[in-house]
Amino acid sequence: MSEEIKANVTMDLKGLACPLPVVRVSQQVKKMKIGEILEAETTDPGAHADFPAWAKSTGNEIVKIDKGASSTKFYIKKLK
C-alpha cells in the first residue's frame, strides 16, 4: 500500500495550453516554503516528460505521480 501524500497546495491545470502548465507550477512553487508539496493535476501528456525535466533543472522533486483515466496528479516537493 503506497503512502498517502498530503499536499499543501493543489492546482487544477487541466486543459491549459502549452506552456502554461509548467509556467504555473513554477510560479506556484516559488511562493511555497521548502519541504512543502504541490499537487498539480494536468491533462497534458507532455507533462509526463516536462514536469520531471523541470524538477530536475530546478532542483525540486516529484515524489509521486498518480495517473488517472483522463488526467494525472503530480506531487512536487519544493527542495530549493
Binding site: 506552456p19 502548465p21 516528460a49 495517473k67
Partner: protein, 415 residues
Amino acid sequence: MEKEKIQELRQLVKSRLNRPMRYYLDVCTRCGLCYDTCHAYYGIPKKEYSPVNRAEVVRKVYKKYFRPSGFAFPYWGDATKLDERVMDELKEAAFSCTGCRRCMMFCPFGVDMPHILSIAKLLLIGYGNAPEELIMLADSAVEKGKSIDSFKEGYREVIRDLETQVQERLKLPSSEDLIPMEKQNADVLYVGLSGAHSIVHPAVIFNAAKENWTLSYFEAVNFGMFAGDPEKMQFIANRIVKEATSLNVKEVVIVECGTAYRIPKFLLGPLPFKVTSIVEKIYRYIKDGKISIREGAIADALTYHDPCQLGRNGGVYDEPRYVLGALAKDYREMSPTREYNWCCGGGGGLVALDNEDFRVKTGKAKKDQITATGAKIVVSACENCILQLNTIKNGYGLDVEVKSLTELVSENLIV
C-alpha cells in the same frame, strides 16, 4: 555597473555585429514610418512601444561602444552607456516586441527590428535579467534533451491512452500502433506540443491518410529562441534533428507553432530531411486525395489569422486558405491580410509571461480586424496565436469561437 561586467556585455554586442546587423543599426534615419505598423503602438500609443524607439535603445548602446563619435562625444553621438536603467529599457524593448516583422514590411530600408532586438535579449541573458519564465522553460527543454531516456516510459504510457481516442474517432477495431513512436525509417516524424490536442488531431489525420509516421518525444516549441539564447536554441532544436536523423525519416512535420516551424525550416542550415508545417501537410493530403473533408460543412462566417512566423516569416499563406475555403461556406478575409496582417500580440514567447493586461491592450488591432469581418469563428495555425486570440476574445468580450486549423480538419474528416 562594474567595468568588468560592461566589458563582458560589450563582447556580447560585438558577437552579434555581422554585416546585416551593422547595416540595420547604421541605416535607420528615424523617419518614424514604422510607428503605425506596430500592434503594440496601436494598442498603447507610447513612443517606447514603437519599433524605431525599441531599436534606438540598442542603437545607442552600439554607438557608445562601437562608433568613435559615440565614444568620444556621447551627447552629440546620441550614445548611452550600459547601466541598470538601460538594462530595464532593453528588457521593455525586447519583450514588448513579438518578432512579427510587420514593421519591416513598411520600413523604406527593410530594417529588421527583431534582429536588432536579439542584441537586447543577449545582453539581458549576460546581465542575468532575462524573463525568468523563458529561461526556466528553456532550461527544462535542455534538461529533457539530456535525460530523455528516463522520461520515455511515462510519456509512452500516456500516449497509449491517446491511441484509444484516435481509435474511437476513426472507428477502428484496434488502438494498437495508432500513435507510433521510435519507428525506424518512418517517412514522417511529427513533432507536437505538450497538449493532447496537438497529438490526437494530427494522429487522426495521419492515420486517415495512411501515413508512415512516428511521433517525436520532444515538443516543437523552442524557448531558447524566445529567450534569445543562441546556445540553448541550438541545443533544443538539435534534439529533434538528432531524433529525426537517428530514425532516418524523410520529413519532419511541425505542429501548429510558428517559431517551431521557422527554426528548422530557415535557421539550422541544410538538414538531411524536409521540414514541413502540419498545415502544408494537410493541404497536400487533400490535394492528393489522401484525406477527404466535408466541403462547406461550416455554415458560420469564418476568418483566418495568419501566424506571423508561418505567414510573413514563413511564406505559408495559400495552403490554409485552400483548406478553410473548402470547409467554410462563408470564408472572410481579414483586412489587411497576408504579409500585412496585424500580429495578434502573443508571439515571441510573450504568452508565457505574466502580462495579460499588456497583451489585451496590444491585441486591439487584431480585435478590430476580427470585429470588422463579422466572423463567428476565428481560425489560426499556431498555439501561441490561439492562446492570444482567446485572451483577446475574453479581454474584449468578443462573440467568436477560436479554433485551430488542424482541429477543424480532424473534426470534419470523412472517415
